[in-house]
C-alpha cells in the first residue's frame, strides 16, 4: 500500500493548532479589553495599526490567520468524519476552500493597510 500524502494538509493543521493554542486566547482577551476601552498601553489601536503596516507585522498576522483557519478547517473535516459524515471529499473541499478564501481575504485586507 502506498504511503499517504496527508502530511500536506496535516503539517499546516498541526502548526495552526499550535498557533491557536498559544495566540488565540490572548487575542480574544485583548480584543475584549480593547472593545471595553481597556487595551493595555502599547497594544492600543494606533500601535497595532503601526504593527500591521510593517512588512513583518503583516507576515505575522497573515501567518496567524491563515494557519488558524487551515487548522480549524481540518479539525472540522475530521469532526465531520468522526460523526459519520461519509462525504469526506465534499467536506474537505468546502472547508479547505473556506480556509483558502479567508486567507486570501486576510492577505487582501493586510495589503490595504
Amino acid at each position: 500500500m502506498a504511503k499517504s500524502h496527508k502530511p500536506v494538509v496535516w503539517f499546516p493543521f498541526a502548526a495552526g493548532g499550535t498557533v491557536i493554542a498559544f495566540c488565540m486566547p490572548v487575542i480574544v482577551l485583548l480584543t475584549l479589553l480593547a472593545a471595553l476601552g481597556h487595551a493595555p498601553a502599547g497594544l492600543d489601536y494606533q500601535n497595532m495599526h503601526v504593527f500591521a503596516r510593517s512588512g513583518l507585522g503583516k507576515l505575522i498576522i497573515f501567518g496567524v490567520v491563515a494557519l488558524s483557519l487551515w487548522s480549524s478547517a481540518h479539525r472540522l473535516r475530521c469532526t465531520c468524519y468522526d460523526f459519520g459524515l461519509r462525504a469526506d471529499t465534499l467536506a474537505a473541499t468546502v472547508l479547505y476552500a473556506a480556509a483558502i478564501f479567508g486567507s486570501i481575504a486576510a492577505a487582501v485586507f493586510l495589503a490595504r493597510i
Binding site: M1, K3, H5, P7, V8, W10, F11, A14, C78, R86
Partner: protein
C-alpha cells in the same frame, strides 16, 4: 473481622448463540454478590449458580492478561477491573464493540491479530551480532522513551473505544500502531523503515483523527493517542524528506 457487605446485583447480558439465534438478545440475571466484587465475579457467580451456558473469556482476574474486555454500561472495560461499587441499578454487559461476536460475550479478535502482525511488533536489530559479543545495552533514558508503550496487554479496549475503527474497519488501529511505535523508539531496533510501509499509509496513522478515546479507556495507562500523534510528526518529516528534498530518503 467485619463481614463483607452483600448486594443483589442485576445484570443485563447480551446473549447470542450462533446455532440457535438469528440475532442477539438481552437476558436479565439477578445474583447476590459481595460489594467488593468486580463484574467478572458477578458473571462467574451467574455461570456457577444460575446459567452454565453463559460464555465469556477471562483468565488472570488481575488486569494483566487482557482477555476479559467487555462493554459495561456502554464503556469498554476489563470486567476484572470494573468494580460493582462503581455501578448502580442494572449493569448492562455486552461484547466488545467493533468486533464480530462469536457467542455471548466472546468476540473474534482475528482482525486485530492480523493487523498486529503487519506492523512487525518485534525487535528488528539495527546490527546483528553474535551472542559471544554480549547483550545489546541500553541506558535508562533510552528505556524511558518506549517503556510506556511496551505496557500494552492487547486487550483491544482501545479498538472498541475508537470511533474511527468502528467507521473504517481497515484502520490499523491504536494498539497495533502503538506497538509499532514502541519498537521504533527502541535504541536497539532498526526496523522503522519496514514498519513505515504500514504506519505511514492512509490506513495507518492517517486514519486517526485524535479523538483520544483510546488513551481514556486503556487499563494499562498506555497513551496510544500520544504514540499516534508522535508518529504523525515523524511520518510528516519523512514525507518532506522524500518529496521536497531531491534524492532524499528518510
Amino acid at each position: 473481622m467485619t463481614p463483607l457487605k452483600e448486594r443483589l446485583v442485576q445484570l443485563e447480558v447480551l446473549r447470542y448463540n450462533p446455532d440457535t439465534d438469528t440475532e442477539a438478545h438481552f437476558q436479565r440475571y439477578e445474583v447476590v454478590c459481595q460489594e467488593e466484587w468486580v463484574v467478572l465475579d458477578a458473571l462467574n457467580k451467574v455461570k456457577a449458580d444460575i446459567d452454565p451456558t453463559l460464555n465469556y473469556r477471562w483468565s488472570c482476574h488481575m488486569a494483566v492478561c487482557g482477555s476479559c474486555g467487555m462493554m459495561i454500561n456502554g464503556e469498554p472495560k476489563l470486567s476484572c477491573h470494573a468494580f460493582l461499587r462503581d455501578y448502580e441499578g442494572v449493569i448492562r454487559v455486552e461484547p466488545l464493540a467493533h468486533f464480530p461476536v462469536e457467542r455471548d460475550l466472546v468476540t473474534a479478535p482475528d482482525d486485530f491479530m492480523e493487523k498486529l502482525k503487519r506492523v512487525k511488533p518485534y525487535m528488528i536489530p539495527k546490527e546483528k551480532k553474535p551472542i559471544s559479543e554480549g547483550e545489546y545495552k541500553q541506558t535508562p533514558a533510552q528505556l524511558m522513551k518506549f517503556r510506556q508503550y511496551s505496557m500494552c496487554i492487547n486487550c483491544m479496549l482501545c479498538y472498541a473505544a475508537c470511533p474511527q475503527y468502528g467507521l473504517t474497519p481497515s484502520f490499523i488501529g491504536p494498539a497495533a500502531l502503538t506497538l509499532a511505535h514502541r519498537y521504533n523508539q527502541d535504541s536497539r531496533d532498526g526496523g522503522r523503515a519496514e514498519r513505515q510501509e504500514v504506519v505511514a499509509t492512509h490506513e495507518g496513522v492517517w486514519e486517526c483523527t485524535f479523538v483520544g478515546a483510546c488513551s481514556e479507556v486503556c487499563p494499562a495507562q498506555v497513551d496510544p493517542a500520544s504514540a499516534l500523534q508522535q508518529m504523525k510528526i515523524t511520518s510528516s518529516l519523512d514525507w518532506i524528506v522524500e518529496h521536497l528534498i531531491p534524492g532524499g530518503k528518510p
